[in-house]
Amino acid sequence: MKRVLVVDDSPTVRQQVGTVLRDAGFDVVEASDGAEGTSKVAADPDIGMVILDVNMPRVNGLEMLETIKQDSRNAALPVVMLTSEGQLSLIERAKRAGAKGWIVKPFKAELLLAAVRKLMATSA
């Protein structure tokens, strides 16, 4: 089973998301900002999906999304944004950059799982 990379500057959110995904049988790795997340995507070909916060220090989630999607090897890598932001202009920017979904915190575990399962199945 491919891995899900969870990128969020909050350890609590990473652990919360990670628990939901691990309990459902997914392999989870974590990064605390967009810079670390970008490095992990580049270094780990088994990462099959990214759950990505927006407001983070150093490199934010939209910047990370745009960076990794510039690499053609990540064209099919599904990315879902998980953030407190709900502004449509940001959602449109993420969509244009190649994101496959947007979830506004606080997240419902069943919605997150459904999104991950659907997108992992589609990209497999």
Binding site: S10, T12, Q15, G86, Q87, L88, K100, P106, A114
Partner: protein, 179 residues
């Protein structure tokens, strides 16, 4: 909602605008803690529970013709009670502050305002209280075993306008969308 359709006066001469902004703040705080299972009760500041040690998250918001600084202060009980998993108070206060300013921002965006949020800063201390530029009183809330205080200081230029509320301008908290 029963907000006025358009408010075009400046905040400095418009109690109406101030009332709307304060309502955004109050609703955002109540709904945030409610989403994490903590029922806040608004109390008069003078009757707020007295607690020495507070955790504070400070976060800013800027946009065209508006700036705001939000200080969320709470005792340990509502922090730990609202956390979905056992976690450090420092981290969870930062995340709550981030989500709180996100809710306030989303309300502003729905009324046509433009806003960007900053990263939160967290403090822990005894008898903490801000010294705001304006005369503002905190929103005070009581919880089972603790207290939450919230100062939000808005600064607006004379051109600040809240427009018509627009359906669909923002996604609501808890919503998920696949493209």
């Amino acid at each position: 909602m029963d907000f006025p359709a358009k408010v075009s006066r400046t905040m400095s001469d418009s109690q109406e605008t101030r009332a709307i902004l304060e309502r955004f703040v109050d609703e955002a705080c109540l709904s945030l803690f409610g989403a994490y299972g903590v029922d806040l009760k608004r109390v008069a500041v003078d009757h707020a529970p007295r607690h020495d040690v507070l955790y504070c998250g400070i976060v800013g918001l800027t946009g065209q013709n508006i700036r705001a600084t939000c200080i969320l202060a709470a005792t340990e009980e509502p922090i730990s009670q609202s956390s979905p998993i056992p976690s450090s108070a420092r981290d969870w206060v930062a995340e709550l502050s981030n989500q709180l300013i996100g809710r306030i921002k989303n309300k502003l965006v729905a009324y046509g305002a433009e806003a960007y949020v900053s990263m939160p800063v967290v403090l822990r201390g005894e008898h903490l209280a801000p010294i705001p530029q304006q005369r503002i009183r905190p929103f005070a809330y009581g919880t089972a075993g603790g207290g939450v205080f919230l100062w939000v200081e808005f600064e607006t230029s004379p051109d600040f306008v809240l427009g018509m509320p627009t359906d669909g301008a923002v996604m609501s908290e808890g919503e998920a969308l696949l493209f």
